[in-house]
């Protein structure tokens, strides 16, 4: 088992190299050659996006300055072949040097570290809430299969499943927040957060995060609930539950002591994926609610063509994603004694 996980951990390295090399090559794909061409391209790209809206981003009003182009060129080593500059970049990554932001001139790692707490807060809260809601709801639906309540919740859950999280986020942003004024218009906390007494701080944080959390939840919610329901139903029909019942266990005991334990195994396979939720896929919701997390950072740096940050966010999210997969396997191995990865 340990050998298996060590092997898996080692396999992260080639996969990581593959991902970053690919993206590195893509970012180098800017129609190469003279700087003029890059500049022209950048200008043209901006023209295309201005009419798309989001005029509040400064990149679209100020074109890339020559010094920035120079900076970019130097950073990627456009004069050198792709593989050489990739190798140079990689050498720096290995000592955790993600380079400098071409926009802020701060170390990329510092910028990312500043945003991490927000992303972790949301990732963590979403994970906990998903499990807290989906497991009881799944159990309830399995035991009350085909009753009114089961069908009613099914429709609700399915509608949630059909809609991408950011659409839900937009709905929540426009009505409860903007039109009805029940919640703040985005952001992570109020501006006067520092001056508030403790409980007001807690309330402020909650008040800001209720809507985004709902949006985050909607996605993972349906899959988990149905997974819980279906596996529990299968297990309830299994012989060992019948045996337990005939030996005099109450139904409640049979469900919670026997069937339940076996039913959370498939849920465990999803556990590691939550790690990616901390970062990727969340930038849409972060964008809607203007939450200053890693997702928004990655998005903004894309808009502003701050490639060191783009690559930095990618490095972190891909490593977390790969670790998440392994974590999922580990969770399965922990809950299911039958599993052995040999």
């Amino acid at each position: 088992m340990t050998a298996y996980f060590i092997r898996r951990l080692l396999l992260i390295i080639p996969t990581f190299l593959g991902i970053t090399l690919l993206v590195f090559i893509i970012t180098r794909f800017v129609p190469g050659g003279p700087v003029e061409k890059i500049l022209a391209e950048a200008r043209q790209m901006k023209m295309g996006h201005v009419s798309h809206g989001s005029a509040n981003t400064p990149a679209q009003t100020s074109p890339l300055s020559p010094s920035q182009i120079e900076e970019l060129k130097k950073f990627y080593g456009f004069d050198k072949p792709v593989l050489v500059s990739y190798w140079e970049w990689l050498k720096k990554i290995m000592v955790l040097d993600l380079g400098y932001s071409t926009r802020y001139y701060d170390p990329v790692w510092d910028i990312i570290r500043d945003k991490l707490p927000v992303s972790i807060y949301y990732g963590f809260a979403t994970t906990v809430l998903t499990y807290l809601i989906c497991i009881p709801l799944g159990i309830f639906k399995a035991i009350r299969h085909k009753t009114m309540m089961d069908s009613a919740t099914s429709v609700v859950v399915l509608v949630g499943y059909a809609l991408p999280g950011f659409i839900v986020a937009i709905v929540l942003f426009v009505w409860p927040a903007a039109q009805w004024d029940w919640f703040p218009l985005g952001g992570f906390m109020s501006n006067d957060f520092e001056d508030l007494p403790f409980w007001s701080q807690v309330w402020d944080l909650l008040h800001h995060s209720i809507l985004p959390l709902i949006a985050y939840l909607v996605g993972s919610f349906a899959t988990m609930t149905f997974l819980m329901k279906n596996t529990l139903m299968d297990n309830l029909a299994a012989d060992y539950v019948r045996t337990a019942l005939s030996k005099g266990l109450s139904f409640r005991q049979a469900v919670f002591r026997h069937a339940f334990r076996n039913s959370i195994i498939p849920l465990a396979t999803h556990f590691g994926n939550n790690i990616t939720l901390f970062l990727t896929g969340s930038f849409l919701i972060e964008k809607v609610f203007n939450i200053d997390g890693l997702g928004l950072l990655g998005f903004d740096s894309l808009v502003e063509r701050d490639y060191p940050i783009v690559l930095g966010v990618l490095v972190i999210s891909s490593i977390l994603g790969l670790l998440g997969n392994i974590l999922s396997d580990l969770c399965v191995a922990l809950v299911d004694p039958r599993v052995s990865f040999e």
Binding site: P14, T15, G18, I19, L22, V23, I26, T27, F29, V30, P31, E41, Q44, M45, G48, H49, S51, H52, G53, S54, H145, K146, L158, V159, Y161, A162, L163, P164, F166, I167, I170, V171, F173, V174, A178, Q179, N230, M233, D234, L236, A237, V241, T280, G281, F283, L284, K287, V288, G298, F299, L302, V303, R305, V310, L314, S317, S318, G321, L322
Partner: protein, 347 residues
């Protein structure tokens, strides 16, 4: 044509799942309406009767104003023409579509700035967007773009996914191993993020956006096809076919593929829904199709930027909810009909 009895049974089961069956009808009607949209949401008239002659401007070349005795040679403004004919009372008439606007023209009001709220009188049934384009027209033609994108994506993704997955399962060995690694790397790339990187460098058109999305999204079906082929390959009918002298191509095309079809079908609706959501997300962020293309994502963005014009967001979100929910209902029903996991129920 002889229908396979299993297929017939699956279709019957699908029909019996009401939610999915009705959703399929609704979705079919929406598709029909979207692809015949020129007939009912268009700035060109359906029919014009002018001095004893009939004109049908809907499809075909544009008709310059001079044809109808107007003093300009660019495309006729049929709404004006209708008003003019009505005033003249010379027996000429214009039959306009229900919503007489196309998705690109800006209808500016001298007294107010756009966005204009919904109005029956101006025939902007859903209002206009922030530069005065008719919202209904944007929605309808945007839906068409969305569906076209999703369907193109579906066809290409599935062809690649099925081919590669099938070959991985069938050949096994080194081919399988190499592609396993490739897919592992490919699917760990944050898909939307990379598409954003690419389309921040080049402004893609529809075909290009499809190709970029395919490039990072073809793996979906491959895993399933691979395991499925492995399973089917080991079954006796394949051995029997081999013993009878069937070649590899024949075995794959005539035996393995038809037998995996029912699983493939269950992925179709979800793939369409996925295509719609990812195009909407990309357009919302401004990394999708170039500017004048009608798109739902762009409407969402306008809506969130113009909170004083809630009709933009309302119509767009309702349209999205209707489309995505019907597709999901279809998908659930198809899955239940074609890939039944008969739940043993505890009594």
């Amino acid at each position: 044509m002889n229908w396979n009895p299993i297929t017939l049974r699956q279709l019957k089961r699908f029909r019996s799942i009401r939610r999915g069956y009705y959703s399929l009808w609704i979705f079919g009607i929406m598709m029909f309406l979207a692809f015949s949209a020129e007939m009912w949401v268009n700035s060109r008239a359906l029919m014009v009767y002018y001095s004893g002659q009939w004109y049908f401007p809907t499809y075909g070349d544009m008709i310059p104003g001079t044809v109808f005795g107007l003093d300009y040679s660019y495309e006729t403004n049929y709404r004006e023409l209708q008003k003019k004919f009505e005033k003249e009372k010379a027996g000429n008439w214009v039959l306009l579509p229900i919503a007489p606007y196309n998705a690109f023209e800006t209808d500016l009001d001298a007294t107010h700035f756009p966005p204009h709220p919904p109005s029956l009188e101006a025939r902007h049934y859903l209002g206009t967007d922030s530069i005065g384009r008719d919202l209904l027209a944007r929605l309808v033609y945007g839906f068409r773009v969305c569906i076209l994108f999703s369907l193109m994506l579906l066809v290409i993704n599935f062809s690649i996914g099925i081919t590669v997955g099938c070959l991985m399962g069938y050949w096994g060995g080194a081919f399988d191993l190499i592609f396993q690694r490739v897919i592992e790397i490919w699917s760990s790339i944050p898909f939307l993020y990379v598409i954003m990187i690419i389309s921040s460098m080049v402004v893609p058109n529809l075909t290009m956006l499809v190709l970029i999305s395919v490039f990072f999204g073809w793996m979906g079906l491959t895993w399933y096809m691979r395991t499925l082929t492995y399973k089917e390959k080991a079954r006796t009918y394949v051995l029997a076919a081999k013993a009878l002298g069937a070649g590899n191509t024949r075995i794959i095309l005539k035996h393995i593929l038809p037998n995996s079809l029912s699983l493939i079908i269950t992925f179709v609706p979800f793939s369409v829904a996925g295509g719609i959501s990812s195009l909407t997300a990309l357009d919302y962020l401004g990394f999708g199709l170039p500017a004048p293309t009608p798109s739902w994502g762009e409407l969402l963005q306008q809506g969130t930027n113009n909170l004083h014009a809630p009709w933009i967001i309302s119509s767009t979100v309702i349209a999205l909810v209707v489309v995505l929910v019907t597709i999901t209902f279809i998908g659930e029903a198809v899955r239940e009909a074609f890939d039944p996991k008969m739940h043993t129920i505890f009594e």
